[in-house]
Amino acid sequence: MRGFIERHGHAIASAARRLMTEPLTNLLTILVIALSLAVPTCLYRIISDAATMAKGQAGPPAITLFLRLGVREDQISKIRESLNHHKQVSSLDFVSPEQGLKELQHRLGTEDVLTGLDHNPLPAVLIVHPSSTDPAVLLDLQKEFSASPAVDQVKLDAEWARRLHAITHLLQEAILALALIFAAAVVIVVMNTVRLQVTAAREEIEVCKLMGASDAFVRRPFVYFGMFQMFFGGGVAIGMTELVRIAFNSLSAEWLGPYSLSFQVQSLPWLQAGGGLLLALILGWFAASSAVSTFLYRLRPR
């Protein structure tokens, strides 16, 4: 155990020494890594919070059930009872033909809407608020309600939900693709930096190999070096994301305030920030290991 700690202690000290040998070059590399990580993170935060806000602004989707004319009160009560106990129904509003008529009169601003008619032609209406916004679930509910003999017509107000779902899904896919591209760029940047370090330390590596150093012994300081770069790059990226968030929120308040709208991007949750740093460390390990392994392969006896 002590040997393990000492081996890794030496490797960490060596990596730190390398990091401090060319501080400006390493700082620039860390900034490139930070930018590459911060851009997709910022976009993800903004899109994710925008989708949440859009959902809130548009209100939950609703399914309107127009009942057949002449449906009796007891039948309506049974339907309401059944819908109130439905797993997928969050809440239910009932609009009687009389209430519908009053609302129509109110909207039209006249009480003469029934002129020439001997009875109220408006049907009883049930407005169902589903518990899910998933377009597939809403379509299933629409089919289910349409099958009821008491229901004349079902109107699903899900178009906006479908569009929103499609747009946020598309944007999230685009950000994922962007994040993958940036992750690949980060790996290449770290690989190249480590490759330069390895090339500069060629003689040292050769000497170590001549003395029987294992590949792991040679690789270890460079892997720590790559992981350090990614760790600091990830840390700076979190800072950058927070700065962008603060600036964005300030601009958002300035622009949307006059329209009585509010859109504030939330801070990156600690769990996500920690997960991101861990991912960055894994990428650093992978990039540095690959760069050193390629070099070590060329040193094998021939």
Partner: protein, 229 residues
Amino acid sequence: MTDSVPMIEINALTRRYPDGREALRGIDLQIEAGEMLFLGGPSGAGKTTLLRLIAGIDRPTSGEITLNGQPLSRLSAPALEALRKNIGMVFQEHKLLLDRSVEQNAALPLQIQGLASAEIHKRVAAALERVGLGGRANDSPLALSGGERQRLCIARALVGKPALIVADEPTGNLDTEYGEAILTLFRSFHLAGVTLIIATHDERLVQSLEGRLVHIDQGRVISDGRTLS
């Protein structure tokens, strides 16, 4: 004649470089454990090439080197690493790490072996003392003269207490005083049973130590005898 297996057995060894030049052309040698063997011959004779093949740094074009009964060509990477840990190497071009101190350079083989820091410090201090660099532990190799660098290289080879020392022109840059000190050091290791293979032009070195002298020229063994001591 003994029944024991030689420590190193070299059979029909050839080494051809990518440019087609043949550095070794069918070397046959047997080296017993504890032997002190000098490789003599002019520059370009193939001495360094032979040392590199014995240390497992390069692979032969044909032929085989067997070390303690194990053919080098069939050794796995970890086995080759273990072998190298047991060989002390003194390079003609020193191969010192100029961004590390004298002490850190000498400590490298022990760090590779995974020894504890306290043990490394103790053994390095003793090795540096033996080669006359006891007071220079914290200096940079850049502050050392050519002879001092050579002595540091020797200290680094000895510090791991190897069973085999392979040295390429170990006294080439040493003045008389330290040359004598290094000869004494080699003699003490020889007496302790360490096998030494030394490639050298240095007649003084060859004639001051008792051992076996193998002359190589144009990649072939041209004589195999004893030194005059």
